[in-house]
Symmetry: C2
Subunit: 766 residues, 2 copies
Amino acid sequence: GNESDLKLTPSSFLRIGQLSNVDLNEDIHELETEVPRQRPNEIPHNEKLLSLKYESLDYDNSENQLFLEEERRINHAAFRTVEIKRWVICAMIGILTGLVACFIDIVVENLAGLKYRLVKDNIDKFTAKGGLSFSLLLWATLNASVVMVGSLIVAFIEPVAAGSGIPQIKCYLNGVKIPHVVRLKTLVIKVCGVILSVVGGLAVGKEGPMIHSGSVIAAGISQGRSTSLKRDFKIFEYFRRDTEKRDFVSAGAAAGVSAAFGAPVGGVLFSLEEGASFWNQFLTWRIFFASMISTFTLNSVLSVYHGNAWDLSSPGLINFGRFDSEKMEYTIQEIPIFIFMGVVGGILGALFNALNYWLTMFRIRYIHRPCLQVVEAMLVAAVTATVGFVMIYCSRDCQPLQGSSVAYPLQLFCADGEYNSMATAFFNTPEKSVVNLFHDPPGSYNPMTLGMFTVMYFFLACWTYGLTVSAGVFIPSLLIGAAWGRLFGISLSYLTKSSIWADPGKYALMGAAAQLGGIVRMTLSLTVIMMEATGNVTYGFPIMLVLMTAKIVGDYFVEGLYDMHIQLQSVPFLHWEAPVTSHSLTAREVMSTPVTCLRRIERVGTVVDILSDTSSNHNGFPVVESNPDTTQVAGLRGLILRSQLIVLLKHKVFVERTNLSLVQRRLKLKDFRDAYPRFPPIQSIHVSQDERECMIDLSEFMNPSPYTVPQEASLPRVFKLFRALGLRHLVVVDNRNEVVGMVTRKDLARYRLGKEGLEELSLAQT
Amino acid sequence: GNESDLKLTPSSFLRIGQLSNVDLNEDIHELETEVPRQRPNEIPHNEKLLSLKYESLDYDNSENQLFLEEERRINHAAFRTVEIKRWVICAMIGILTGLVACFIDIVVENLAGLKYRLVKDNIDKFTAKGGLSFSLLLWATLNASVVMVGSLIVAFIEPVAAGSGIPQIKCYLNGVKIPHVVRLKTLVIKVCGVILSVVGGLAVGKEGPMIHSGSVIAAGISQGRSTSLKRDFKIFEYFRRDTEKRDFVSAGAAAGVSAAFGAPVGGVLFSLEEGASFWNQFLTWRIFFASMISTFTLNSVLSVYHGNAWDLSSPGLINFGRFDSEKMEYTIQEIPIFIFMGVVGGILGALFNALNYWLTMFRIRYIHRPCLQVVEAMLVAAVTATVGFVMIYCSRDCQPLQGSSVAYPLQLFCADGEYNSMATAFFNTPEKSVVNLFHDPPGSYNPMTLGMFTVMYFFLACWTYGLTVSAGVFIPSLLIGAAWGRLFGISLSYLTKSSIWADPGKYALMGAAAQLGGIVRMTLSLTVIMMEATGNVTYGFPIMLVLMTAKIVGDYFVEGLYDMHIQLQSVPFLHWEAPVTSHSLTAREVMSTPVTCLRRIERVGTVVDILSDTSSNHNGFPVVESNPDTTQVAGLRGLILRSQLIVLLKHKVFVERTNLSLVQRRLKLKDFRDAYPRFPPIQSIHVSQDERECMIDLSEFMNPSPYTVPQEASLPRVFKLFRALGLRHLVVVDNRNEVVGMVTRKDLARYRLGKEGLEELSLAQT
């Protein structure tokens, strides 16, 4: 797009990256008085680049004449109908997201149960007569083959379904178009993939992907059609534009969180924290409605499935179980301890992210072929099973079976009536292990067991995140944290011999919060999610303290996991505010220039040539007064998008030059909506030589009041306008309202606050 | 301000109100195809007017040269210091708000205890020997005299401290300057006033005013000085502007909610729902921090005060008590019942608001003298006591004393070991009555008692809201709702004889939510507040359903109570979105015109004359190129505020005309900050005749990049820009960047969606 303009003007600021990797310490001195620390000499691939391959979404309505005419025709009652449709769609999003979550839960439970029973029977058989290596082989092979299928479909059919999908949804809500991210195919692969990953015994959770699934459902329903299935239900046509779709996707993401954790308020806050920039009361209320419906659907269906209809006891995919207020109260003296746990969580989280960073760099360089990715996933699955088996085998931690709630108790070498306690952690789905760590009575775990488990699981989870399978990182993080938190609690009660620290479950909860906070660095929403998942409000304050500490400590070292992956993808992501020290920059220095402008009445050939120019590939064009005398730079009259021009050309909306008095063919808004969102490329539209000489009148289709800034506006001011209104193009004009430049997402996203002050990322076509 | 411009152009739309009260049905037809319903002939005073007396706040930074120079001088480390200061201020806001809440709670508890014990002893004495009218007299006199003091200080010292303060804070966060609203004096009067109102036995709560108190504390602390006390601590000078102050006031309001209900997340959502337009992650996290600190402070101090230190069991001024999940689970069959309760709550809430509306109109017309206001407050206090006494006296509902938790059991004519059950509702602070209704075991109340109580309390609360005392409406609403909800629950169990409806406390809770929702129409935040106050997440879904139903039903009849009072004050309040049918209007029709512009180098006399012009009283002036040839309309160069001009004139920043080469005196940002927020009026600045002939160069002080819109922009587009960025002035320019008009808050707030389509309110100086 205009977004793709490489800056031609030399910048006086630090520009780091592949293209120009020079250390301009003098320039830094101009910016800050601090002496900058020396940077490492080798700057890794991809880190300080912005990719030009990502396009933006149009979150600002193009208020052209067609749109205004339609809006003016709609009366008050019709607007009420639109509003009711919005609510209906949100209810449908909630219901469907809840049902998808139910499906995942039930299938995983059954398949995983099958697998664990099979392996348990095998182990029980071989424990007596020796030859446990067969059991290991069975376990590892089962895992590897299930994961192979899960990885195959992701790697070969829809690679965007890999991972948790949270970074992708963050980008989408931020306004970056990630190809295929909200397609039906992605949903199918995601759902199958996550089931296979969890059943395959990887150190992953099924919660994160729910957010992505909810978003896809929302995007699909709100459009009333599926372009993949070529089915158009002819409903909800009013919502076929980026602005409306984004609002529903927010609701879908919230419904996903809500279904995953039984946390409807947390879901709303997640959507707002990660996505929204403009807080709108009605929108928020609708998002909340979708969230509530989602958790309620899940709850009802699962209650019926589990045979105790109407008791509504499973609001989410994971339930942390009841934390009784009496038993687990905290006192004011424990607060410093919680803060200390936050510090530990921050450090361990940063370590996790740093390791994962190097791993991801390695993967980008060497494991980019799909076959290799599948092999790696299988390897991880086999290793996970092996590590688990060896740990269980070596563990001599036996616990009485009576009174415990272990799902698949492995006896192994324990006495009769006892079970191997290491197996509760490894030989189980991670969700169940988390709940066990929270609620098993004191003394259920040997400290040695917990320590070993923490270390091994930490490395396994770190290795697993980033594999080509769909899977989330929430549950493994919680599990690691719960393990060391419980260990911490046990140590405390050993050390102090006081009954006040008696319950290690409380510390397991705080550890889980600290570890998760240290890895993903979410704040308000995570506090509320944890509060809702525990069903207990009293823990709010310590959880907040722990998360805040973990975030502050973690941010000192490296970024959060999701932000890190977004940056590794070189996505032009706009943060909340412009870098604090960027007041020295103005729109003049930031903007892309020169800008390709169109005249209000333009020759078709010119339009086609401009659109076909692959070297610039602009997406938005200022429309200027069509005075033939003026040069390119001229008074701004409007702004028109590539997608609009494509539709105009496709429908041959133009008149012969010799006969300008003829009326140009009229288009309706419906023509634009039908083409949305997959506009054809310019190459697919045939324009004959005669047609090239025709004229096209853009007045009716251009947005006559695009937002503009003067050249003197500072970067933070431009940024605020751009971010608050969700813009894609911002025209920079001079004192006479003449176009001098264009600011797009990439022009703003490239400025970043590095360790040495303001940095400017390079742009690249990768 | 320019905000004060009366529109000179005739409008083609409905203009209703005092100034031109004509029914233009033809015009309505142009807008909608629906046939409009006939409006009542008499349109009450004040309803369809916007007052011009309210000024706006500047939530958009004036990025002039001085500001940019300062920002550029600040390096990264210094910005970190600013950030740390923000956190420190938020912590202080939380602590102080918590302490103020503690103070109110402890004083009210002691004074009210004293009063009730006194009256109870008296009643006990006279029950035996007859002459209970003395007791009534004592009770009524005590109440009336306490309320008299409370009303006197409000009416004569600081009238803005009346009521709950929530409408005022809503306006402040919306960007309307309400005089005195965040002053220290207001806080003192508010705190004393609320104590006296509650002790005086009015049907009021002490929770709503906490929101106002928190806001004042925030505004005070963040400025590092008190203009009332004339103390400047020379700290936090960076925060002396409207933008920063607003952020802290949001945090203060959240801290207030948090202290009132023990609901930190609810507090954050309240601030966002009522105030913020731009969602900023860092800001939200700070607000949450202040909220958490506030409830934690309150909890700690009250725990220590009540002698059970460290148990942290009183997170808010009102605690709904523990709702045990086992005992009070709901089933799916109850959901239609809850929805029905929501409908009842919506209707009763609308009735409450409608009655209060007529009462307020009456008060505006006839009770505007402070003495009369005090007399009315005393009358209400006496009547409240009398009604309570008569109800208690007539009630024959006796309950066994054993096992009940009544604070001041009145025996009256009951047998020994029994108490009068009506007295638990009337002879107690409303907070305690609410908790009793939630938690007293089934059978504690006679249905007759509850019915009578609901009716009487409904009218008393309705009469009380709007009195010249500081007091909130949350608790009375909850109390009314809890009473009829409990009655409803009892009826259900009578009717069905099923044990599933056994616990009427659940229905009391839903009734309370429905009634409160029906009156105030808050949505997401109220759901979360109720969830947090009950400490129980499982009720989230039914509470949401109830609140949503109550809001939809209530909105069908009249507006919410706060919005109604804001409208009765004719405040130019900007809602979330422009009216849906306003696409037919453009900036050209909406803007105020003509605009008074200044030249970049302007004669001092001209500036003084323009500022002194009381007929226009503009607050923002576009600065245009100082070409002497051009007429008034000319290319826009910047925007300067009245307050900035005042500071310039005060510091004599100008040079003689004959000697333009001389350098004008330099001002620092500090000079503007020192004058903030009470800029002197122009009349207090003496400018001699010689000085009038001097020239003043505005280039350095004006904002060189004001936001602009073209004339063709539609009203929703202008509205979105204005609201999202928190603007005060938006310059309308033509194609040549020449100033043609100015859009201010009043130009946007006057368009409203009435029953018949788009309405245009009139502007008046009242």
